[in-house]
């Protein structure tokens, strides 16, 4: 009885204390917020807003954030307002408030990471002419304060397709996409075309998880694919793909005699395929989101911001690529075939489709 009374009293007083503290903090924050610092050069600051997935998705958002961090360190910026920062979106309704928070905090350049932010940026760009926006993976035309960045993911995926086709022993490969749409469509189209360029008879399973953040779904899709005989899966699905890796590792642990592989996406996912006894990551397609974020931030700081323009990055300029991974360990011919195709794509002899053909 006595203790419960004490607990009750304790909770109340502590609660009150916290609410008082919180109010006090509010006042302080208001005071500092009024002196917003908009600047150029040394005062220049940049932030990014993630799509659903977060800066630790081991793929798309993470590489963008890594690029921004690198830029910040090289330019002696501090993480936080006035330097560099990220705003994480946990749902689609948070894109607009996050963009506004970034604008509010006085960042000069605000990156929208992913095509999902396109409508939100389009909507607020006109009302915030002083802020330079950058949209990755989509195009916003006719606005001087929005720069658009597109990657030719289909080219890197084509190379991944060649690698998958050459590495597959069962002549059966799989593709796991995040959400259907223009961007992941490029991955699918390139991959399928690459596989077919090696052998028209290879079976390709294409499945979409419907989300970039559902590792459990990724795992169950991968399980079904491996069970039906596929031995290489290329995933273009952000966080969902972590389930594909985990399933591949489980398969390798139970049945090491039939090796299975995963092809990673957007950044070198070698570490994600690591397990005691080996590694399931065959190779990864690279998407230079980090490099591009870094370059644009550096340029914008020097006053060279390309507002209103659309920039396209492909194999030619190193915007996308395929890692060496374990290609050589599986079969030394693979790297040769990949390099040949790469040269042909750069020379324009191979045109990789951007949209998957309708079934």
């Amino acid at each position: 009885m006595k203790t419960s009374k004490k607990i009750g009293l304790g909770l109340l007083t502590l609660g009150l204390a916290v609410s008082l503290v919180a109010c006090g903090g509010g006042k302080k924050a208001d005071d500092t917020a009024t002196g917003g610092d908009k600047g150029k050069g040394a005062d220049y600051s940049a932030a990014l807003v993630t799509d659903v997935g977060g800066v630790d998705d081991k793929s798309f958002n993470q590489s963008a954030w890594e690029g921004l961090q690198e830029w910040g360190k090289e330019n002696d910026k501090k993480k936080g307002t006035g330097g560099y920062n990220y705003y994480q979106s946990n749902s689609d309704s948070e894109f607009t408030p996050n963009l506004n928070s970034a604008i509010d905090d006085g960042f000069n350049t605000v990156f929208g990471i992913g095509f999902k932010l396109q409508p939100a940026i389009e909507e607020i760009a006109d009302a915030n002419k002083d802020t330079q926006f950058v949209i990755i993976d989509d195009v916003i035309k006719g606005k001087d304060n929005v720069e658009s960045v597109i990657f030719k993911d289909n080219e890197a995926s084509y190379l991944a397709g060649i690698a998958a086709a050459k590495a597959s022993k069962t002549k059966h490969v799989g593709f796991v996409g995040g959400q259907e749409g223009e961007v992941i469509g490029r991955f699918e189209a390139g991959f399928v075309d690459g596989v077919k360029s090696v052998d028209k008879d290879i079976k390709i399973d294409v499945k979409y998880a419907g989300s970039f953040g559902d590792a459990a779904k990724g795992k169950s899709i991968a399980a079904a694919m491996y069970k039906s005989g596929a031995d290489v899966i290329f995933h273009a699905s952000g966080d969902t793909g972590n389930g594909v890796f985990s399933e591949a590792i489980d398969v390798m642990k139970t049945k090491p005699e039939n090796p299975v592989w995963v092809i990673g996406v957007d950044r070198d996912q070698h570490d994600e395929g690591e397990y005691d006894g080996g590694n399931v990551t065959l190779t990864s397609t690279l998407k230079g989101v980090g490099t591009v974020v870094k370059t644009i931030a550096t340029d914008a700081q020097d006053g060279k911001y390309n507002g209103g323009k659309t920039e396209v990055f492909g194999l030619k300029d190193g915007g996308v690529d395929l890692t060496k991974g374990q290609l050589d360990e599986v079969n030394p011919d693979i790297q040769k075939a990949v390099d040949e195709a790469k040269d042909k794509i750069i020379a324009g002899d191979i045109k990789v489709p951007e949209k998957p053909s309708k079934k």
């Binding site: 009750g8 302080k28 994480q88 259907e180 749409g181």
Partner: protein, 356 residues
């Protein structure tokens, strides 16, 4: 005397829950070496710093009021409607579909039509669960959970193949169907605040009148208190089960309409059922099922979620905000413990004073 005590307690329990949740959040921030004063300071600035932020807080609270009211109606009648998310999505789809089909109708006609369509769609979707419950005694919890998934995939299919040609979002609806108005947008510094808030406030009054001042409301309440006794007293249990679910779904559908015509002005491919469903459930529990309580707790959710977006500015990760919200719900969930402690406390005081 007893009644007054009960009133004090029903206010004290959610307030203590919120404070305890905030306290737990502060402790977690301290443990991970963030400054809770700065963290909560940023939250308050993020929620009230500018007219825009206040607008967004109210914008976020609007659909929660509706789904929260929806949950409370079913809960009062003894049902746990966990399918608010699916019913809201149903309303969202119906309103967008209608808005896209008749983009040129005058605003005064199109907006009410879309709201009615969305409300009916939500009611219908919940009615399925109500019908099964009344007819076969199936658990409404299981049925509504399943219906959440069903409508999620139906919705994604409709977006992709019916309303658009394989795109992942429908185009923006015509201004004639939008709940937004220049007045509200300008008033709130360009936020997505919309006319849905008036709809929500109206529903607060209507639901209160329905539950407290009408025969139907009395029947719903008595079915919730004791279904057997109500039936013995001559009330139709089946009718009341279905009615409770239908009203609940209608309100959730309205919440979906507000998201569709107000917040997003389109429908897009979702990876999960709209979060206003489960947040509405939490809001209703926190508000003790009382319309005014629901209004206040919806606004609190708005402050936490919109304000929380600002917390990364001072280095506190956003996950902390989620932990605070989750711990508030946790403390609401164990409100029996809080009541127990308060009871002991009150009893002690009484005996101490030597009064009976």
């Amino acid at each position: 005397m007893n009644k007054k005590n009960e009133l004090v307690r029903s206010i004290a329990v959610p307030v203590i829950s919120v404070l305890a949740g905030l306290l737990l959040g502060a402790i977690i921030m301290l443990v991970f070496q963030y400054n809770p004063v700065e963290g909560y300071g940023a939250m308050i600035e993020g929620a009230f710093g500018r007219a825009y932020n206040v607008g967004e807080v109210v914008r976020l609270a609007t659909p929660l009021i509706l789904t929260g009211l929806g949950f409370s109606v079913a809960y009062t009648a003894g049902f746990f409607n966990i399918g608010l998310a699916g019913q809201a999505l149903c309303g969202w789809i119906a309103s967008i579909w209608l808005a896209m089909t008749f983009p040129d109708l005058p605003k005064a006609l199109l907006v009410p039509l879309c709201i009615i369509a969305g409300t009916l769609a939500g009611a219908l979707w919940a009615g399925i669960a109500g019908f099964f419950r009344a007819q076969f005694g199936t658990s409404e919890v299981i049925v509504t959970i399943m219906l959440n998934y069903t409508i999620l995939y139906i919705s994604n299919h409709i977006v992709r193949y019916v309303l658009t040609d394989n795109a992942d979002a429908t185009p923006k609806i015509s201004p004639n169907a939008s709940l937004r108005s220049d007045f509200l947008t300008q008033l709130s510094g360009g936020s997505r605040l919309n006319g849905g808030i008036f709809l929500a406030l109206l529903m607060i009054v209507l639901v209160w009148v329905l539950m407290k001042r009408t025969t139907a409301g009395f029947e719903l309440r008595s079915v919730g208190l004791n279904p057997l006794a109500s039936e013995y007293a001559g009330m139709n249990a089946k009718k009341n089960i279905i009615l409770a679910m239908v009203i609940s779904g209608a309100l959730a559908g309205m919440g979906g309409v507000v998201e569709g015509l107000g917040t997003f002005e389109n429908l897009y491919v979702l990876s999960a059922a709209p979060e206003i469903g489960f947040d509405g459930l939490a809001v209703s529990l926190l508000g003790g099922g009382n319309p005014i309580g629901i209004l206040l707790s919806s606004l609190l959710f708005g402050v936490l979620k919109i304000g929380g977006l600002k917390m990364p500015s001072v280095g506190v990760p956003k996950e902390i905000v989620e932990i605070v919200i989750a711990s508030i719900i946790f403390f609401v969930g164990i409100n029996y413990a809080i009541r127990y402690i308060m009871d002991k406390f009150a009893a002690k005081k009484m005996t101490g004073k030597g009064e009976a």
